[in-house]
């Protein structure tokens, strides 16, 4: 392992100055919520630690995670992290192709056995023995299992790898499953989103490379530092929610005033992601800031939870498709009618029985 270069070596080879490394370190420390004292620690780790190889696999996906990733806000983040990781294997971004690419993968898996981080974008389809997704002439399912075997840790990029996303939405003809259904013996860090935010992706990788451990995860396996809060909790329109000021229709005066989008179906209150703090495209904006509610793309099964503008999941049992309140109102109405009818019959019976008093209580 002694010949593996450090992160700093890689950066210097890429023409990145030490000053830039320090700037990158403080930026990353801030992004990870670690405070200024951690910046030297990150820089130190970058200078001394051998580079951790990352293998990036692509299953059933749309490449939006990669597209997001290469648009990291700070150009340095992209240069540093991407140059560090794409060196090994990423069939979309690497220079090699075909047999050479597959050979590079094998070489990496062999050389860094038990050391490399496996990053998975997309997910494997299980139907027809995985024939719905072929990489290098073999089912992606096989490649995934093969690469996961000696991985140190696994990162699930995006909602596909984390939850299944669109290809696993009903009726899911290819039986696409999130990677944790296939890889059961490794720690999996879920970084959901469709796509995830670039800074979140680079932040997670940097944390793991710097500290040599996986970030603290929540119950569902997402890094707490980025998925610990809902969009709603840090939304800049939250004061309008608390005040009771809502956009009632898309084109009304309240929409122009930037009121809360709760009533037009914003899923911010049920979605865990960092959009309202990190934002997108170099911190330019995020959906709610652009005047549209959150569609909950980082949540489990978001394609199957009714429309993007429903805050309640439609209930499809018994051939009906209504939300909980519509069903509740109807059933309560039915029960009310039944009670009224029952009361009426009871009253009639009572009047009838009191007319012939001699009816005894023989029934018991």
């Amino acid at each position: 392992m002694s010949q593996i270069e450090t992160f700093y070596d890689v950066m210097r080879r890429q023409g990145i100055t030490r000053r830039s490394l320090l700037k990158y370190s403080s930026l990353t420390a801030a992004a990870l919520g670690l405070g200024p004292s951690f910046a030297p620690q990150i820089a130190h780790a970058m200078e001394t630690k051998p580079r951790t190889p990352v293998v990036w696999l692509h299953g059933l996906e749309c490449t939006c995670c990669s597209e997001s990733f290469i648009r990291s806000a700070h150009p340095l983040v992209k240069d540093v992290v991407l140059s560090m990781i794409s060196l090994d294997y990423d069939d979309t971004l690497m220079a090699a192709a075909g047999h050479q690419a597959e050979a590079a993968l094998e070489q990496t898996l062999e050389k860094y056995k038990g050391e490399y981080i496996l990053a998975v974008e997309g997910n494997p389809p299980l139907n027809e023995d995985g024939m719905f997704c072929i990489v290098g002439g073999k089912p992606f399912l096989d490649q995934l299992k093969h690469a996961a075997k000696n991985a140190k840790a696994v990162i699930a990029w995006g909602s596909c790898a984390s939850w299944g996303c669109v290809q696993a939405a009903r009726p899911n003809p290819t039986q696409a499953v999130p990677i944790h259904k296939v890889i059961t013996d490794k720690p999996i860090i879920k970084v959901p989103g469709c796509p995830p935010i670039a800074e979140v992706m680079t932040g997670v990788i940097t944390y793991m490379l710097t500290f040599g451990k996986i970030p603290e995860l929540d119950r569902q396996g997402r890094p707490k530092m980025f998925y610990g809060q809902r969009i709603h909790d840090k939304c800049y329109r939250r004061p309008h929610f608390d005040a009771g000021q809502f956009v009632e229709h898309w084109d009304d005066e309240n929409a122009r005033k930037g009121y809360c989008l709760y009533k037009v179906g914003c899923k911010g209150p049920t979605t865990y992601n960092a959009c309202s703090t990190v934002r997108w495209n170099e911190g330019t904006s995020f959906p709610i800031q652009a005047g549209h509610g959150c569609i909950g793309c980082s949540e489990d099964g978001f394609w199957d939870k009714g429309s993007f503008y429903d805050r309640l999941t439609n209930i499809k049992q018994f051939g009906i498709e209504q939300n909980a309140d519509e069903i509740g109102t109807a059933v309560a109405g039915g029960v009310g009618a039944a009670i009224a009818a029952h009361a009426a019959v009871s009253a009639i019976k009572r009047v009838a029985s009191s007319s012939h008093k001699d009816q005894g209580e023989q029934d018991s």
């Binding site: 005040a243 009771g244 009533k263 909950g296 489990d300 309640l312 059933v331 009871s346 029934d363």
Partner: protein, 240 residues
């Protein structure tokens, strides 16, 4: 007195021979009942307006806190409901026999099932005469358990899980109830079920109030006044 003697003799069937007032619901239990009534009323109204908010208020956001107050009322009532329910469970251990009826449904007793059937027939106008009961009638007891105990527990679990989301990761509500969310799926599913649960409770309340009024008029014992004063009165001296 005759009744008490019978009970002392271990007659588990609690046959009521004479018109005797029996002290059924002890004071803490009655207090719990009415506190819960108040909480369910508050929770249903505020809960509905959290899900479907009132028309927007004019003015600056800094001058208004309508949703905040509605949510505060909802959370406060939720706390009271849950704590009162814990108190009610405690009372099942230390209270009289009737205080356990809510939680222990004797589904293993054939006699009890035959009485459930009798009550069903009574409500379907097939039986002319109701029976006398000191505590809950068997059908009522079954409904109480299925609708109220299960419904209330479900609402407390889902409610505090959602509350924990707002309180944040690591809060006591998140630590104690946060597991509900991944169990069900995700946050939106828990919201959906919490809404459904409200209607479940509302249907229970509607039926409960109707049956209480109807039984008070048509059955052979007191109902509503019993939950106020605690004493069960019987309207006739005939055997059950």
């Amino acid at each position: 007195m005759a009744l008490e003697k019978q009970l002392e003799l271990g007659d588990r069937e609690e046959r009521v021979r004479k018109q005797t007032a029996v002290y059924v619901y002890e004071a803490p239990l009655r207090l719990w009942h009415w506190v819960t009534v108040f909480c369910i009323l508050t929770l249903s109204i505020t809960g509905y307006f959290i899900g479907s908010p009132l028309p927007s208020v004019p003015g600056e956001a800094s001058d208004n806190f309508l949703m905040g107050y509605i949510r505060f009322a909802h959370f406060s009532a939720g706390y009271i409901l849950a704590i009162a329910f814990i108190g009610r469970i405690y009372w099942a251990f230390v209270g009289n026999n009737h205080s356990r009826e809510l939680f222990i449904v004797p589904v293993w007793r054939a006699k009890w099932w035959s009485e459930v059937w009798h009550e069903v027939r009574w409500y379907l106008f097939m039986a002319k005469t109701p029976k006398k009961y000191i505590g809950h009638n068997p059908l009522g007891q079954l409904a109480m358990f299925c609708f109220f105990v299960i419904g209330n527990t479900f609402m407390i679990l889902t409610g505090f899980a959602l509350y924990g989301e707002g309180q944040g990761a690591g809060s006591w509500a998140d630590q104690m109830f946060g597991w509900v969310i991944p169990l069900v799926g995700q946050s939106q599913d828990v919201h959906t079920l919490h809404h459904l649960g409200m209607w479940y409770i509302i249907i229970f309340v509607m039926t409960h109030v109707y049956v209480a009024v109807r039984e008070d008029i048509m059955s052979r014992q007191s109902l509503i006044s019993t939950m106020i004063g605690g004493w069960r009165m019987f309207k006739d001296d005939k055997p059950d």
